[in-house]
């Protein structure tokens, strides 16, 4: 029992060790890139899941914050010379503060205004990036100095940086899941009226969850600006980024800690390789439609996602996701 308990808590160390060791085994630049993107998507999906999965509010603003993060980081680098890899966490804080304002507008009330406002927010940030030319460079974008180092070393740097952000995001997600705050968010998802009745300040809970969610999008956007050495109003607000975040979370299992990670680790490599495996016209044009089909199919036939569905198959019991109780509390209650 004790050994099992250790495994139950410590199992993530195994993939972690593998991931830390991988670059030492001569990953080429392309694979470093592939992992960097996978970590980025995983961290953003974990972030999205905090508002979209735990609290059950669909946010389409995370893309806007990804772009905002790219621009804020790019501008501080080009005007003040502050290196992005150092400022990225602060850029995330800026995004979180903006998220507080947006959240205040959209989350004061229950209901559909949140999804509308978050989509509008993404459009507006993109719009401003495009039209505040004197600041952002407009459609020409921002050109950032290259990190002058060996390309492989550079790949390693981005690899470990985003791996770190991913680990942090998982730690935060676990922490929230086990806290009163997390309980409150799940209560809001299950029945917001009741949650409010039981004394939870739902507005504050939702806004804080939204801020945390957007911190990760902002950090990912900031790092990505340095990765591309370039920020552009089209690239920074590519709608497929948002679609990916959502589909990855849903595929993995919304509202669980590991679901979004699982979804990202399956979907991103798969998408990258489809381009090489399939004839390009099919892979390219059908790519977007296919993601859409996957989204509809998951929503309709596997809304609980892979993780919870698999758990059900293995355990044949209702999974903890649907209960407004953290997983370890449930475990200790019924040994």
């Amino acid at each position: 029992m004790n050994a099992r308990r250790v495994i139950a808590v410590a199992w993530p160390l195994a993939p972690l060790v593998i991931l830390i060791a991988l670059p030492f085994n001569g990953l080429n630049g392309f694979l470093l890139d592939l992992f960097y993107f996978t970590f980025t998507y995983a961290a953003m999906s974990v972030g999205w899941n905090i508002i979209g999965g735990y609290a059950g509010y669909i946010s389409l603003a995370n893309l806007g914050f990804f772009g905002l993060g790219s621009y804020v980081a790019g501008l501080t680098l080009s005007h003040l010379g502050w290196p992005i890899l150092l400022t990225a966490p602060l850029v995330g804080v800026v995004c979180a503060l903006v998220a507080a304002v947006i959240g205040w507008i959209a989350l004061r009330t229950r209901g559909p205004s949140f999804v509308i406002v978050t989509l509008a927010f993404t459009f507006i940030v993109q719009f401003l990036a495009l039209n505040l030319k004197d600041i952002t460079g407009g459609s020409a974008g921002l050109y950032l100095p290259l990190l002058s180092m060996d390309p492989l070393l550079r790949g390693d740097l981005f690899y470990y940086y985003m791996l770190g952000v991913l680990i942090l995001s998982i730690a935060v997600a676990i922490g929230i899941r086990r806290s009163r705050f997390g309980l409150g968010l799940i209560a809001i998802r299950e029945d917001e009226g009741k949650a409010e009745g039981s004394g939870i300040n739902t507005s504050v809970f939702k806004i804080v969850a939204f801020m945390i969610s957007c911190w990760f999008a902002g950090v990912a956007g900031a790092v990505h600006a340095q990765y591309l050495n370039y920020v552009d109003p089209d690239l920074a607000f590519e709608l497929i980024i948002m679609l990916n975040m959502i589909v990855m979370t849903l595929l993995g299992s919304r509202g669980t800690v590991w679901g979004p990670v699982l979804g990202a680790f399956i979907l991103f490599p798969l998408q990258s390789y489809l381009v090489y495996w399939l004839p390009s016209t099919i892979a390219g044009e059908v790519h977007l439609a296919l993601l859409g089909v996957v989204l509809v199919l998951i929503a309709r036939f596997m809304p609980e996602g892979l993780l919870v569905t698999l758990q059900k198959l293995i355990v044949r019991r209702p999974p903890p996701r649907l209960q407004a109780v953290p997983a370890d509390a449930a475990t200790s209650a019924r040994p």
Binding site: T109, P112, L119, L288, A289, G292, P303
Partner: protein, 290 residues
């Protein structure tokens, strides 16, 4: 004179905006669902109308009739087999499903018609009338008149038929509607079908007015959301008034500020409404839960 020109163009375009947004508001009213795919459906109808004109020589105004029927059936089936199951479970899943549908349509259009702009050009596309210094393109009069006719038909359907009364009852209160004997599930399916059919009717008109390309629906859905929020989500009359206001505001703004800033008119209104009066100016359903 310039202002008068802006006003005229604004009212004309506002009529079409009203048609584009009315399906969105109808669907929201009955299902409390923001149909993110709404503009994508409109663009898809534009493409089909373009194809019908190109291959079979069917005038876009006539293709409206065909598209309305086809899209009504398609919408009703989508509601019955995909969305209705989700709405009982979790409305946010239905919302995400419409996001998925939007991307399916966009990707499909890219595969079938490439990514370049398309425009529906007919023999009367380029004619213009002018009254003094005010120029009014014929196509704008046609789209305006067609929009008004379709909206009037929809209005009569909603207010003077049993089906319309049932839809309105479902919009106001699902539970009570069920109690008084309305088959709520069936009505929801029909209402969703009508909403999609109205979007389909807007497609050919939009396509004669503006060129379109697969991802142009993202720009439109932002505008349409601003209209329905200003109109009070779910309010039919509110949506009509809001569409006219925003159409005029946009066309007049474009005369005095750079064209690329005119697009902000919609977002300024959207945020102003949400900050000052989250329930919109003409309705009172926005506060209800998602």
């Amino acid at each position: 004179m310039l202002l008068l020109q802006g006003l005229v163009l604004g009212v004309l375009v506002g009529g079409m905006y009203a048609l584009m947004a009315s399906g969105l508001t109808l669907i929201f009213g009955v299902m409390r669902l923001i149909n993110i795919a709404h503009a994508a459906v409109i663009i898809f109808a534009s493409y089909l109308s373009w194809q019908l004109l190109r291959v079979l020589g069917i005038d876009p105004l006539i293709s409206i009739v065909i598209l309305v029927v086809v899209f009504f059936i398609g919408g009703a089936l989508l509601q019955k087999y995909v969305l209705s199951a989700l709405i009982d479970k979790d409305l946010s899943l239905a919302l995400l499903a419409t996001l998925g549908v939007a991307n399916v349509l966009e990707g499909m259009e890219g595969a079938l018609w490439t990514s370049s702009f398309h425009a529906i050009n007919t023999g009367y596309s380029d004619q213009t009338y002018h009254f003094g210094d005010v120029y009014v393109p014929l196509i704008r009069i046609i789209t305006f008149v067609a929009s008004v006719i379709i909206l009037a038909g929809l209005y009569v359907l909603l207010t003077h038929t049993n089906l319309g009364r049932a839809i309105r009852a479902t919009t106001q209160n699902r539970a009570i509607a069920q109690l008084v004997g309305v088959n709520v599930n069936r009505i929801t399916m029909i209402a969703f079908g009508i909403g999609i059919a109205v979007a389909a009717a807007a497609g050919p008109l939009m396509g004669m007015y503006y060129p379109f390309y697969p991802n142009s629906h993202w720009g439109w859905i932002g505008k349409l959301m601003a209209i329905v929020v200003l109109g009070g989500l779910g309010s039919f009359r509110g949506t009509l008034v809001a569409a006219l206001i925003l159409g005029v505001a946009e066309q007049v703004t474009i005369l005095y500020v750079p064209a690329n800033w005119a697009a902000t008119v919609f977002f300024v209104f959207l945020f102003a409404v949400l900050i000052v009066r989250p329930q919109g100016f003409f309705g009172h359903v926005a506060r209800e839960s998602l």
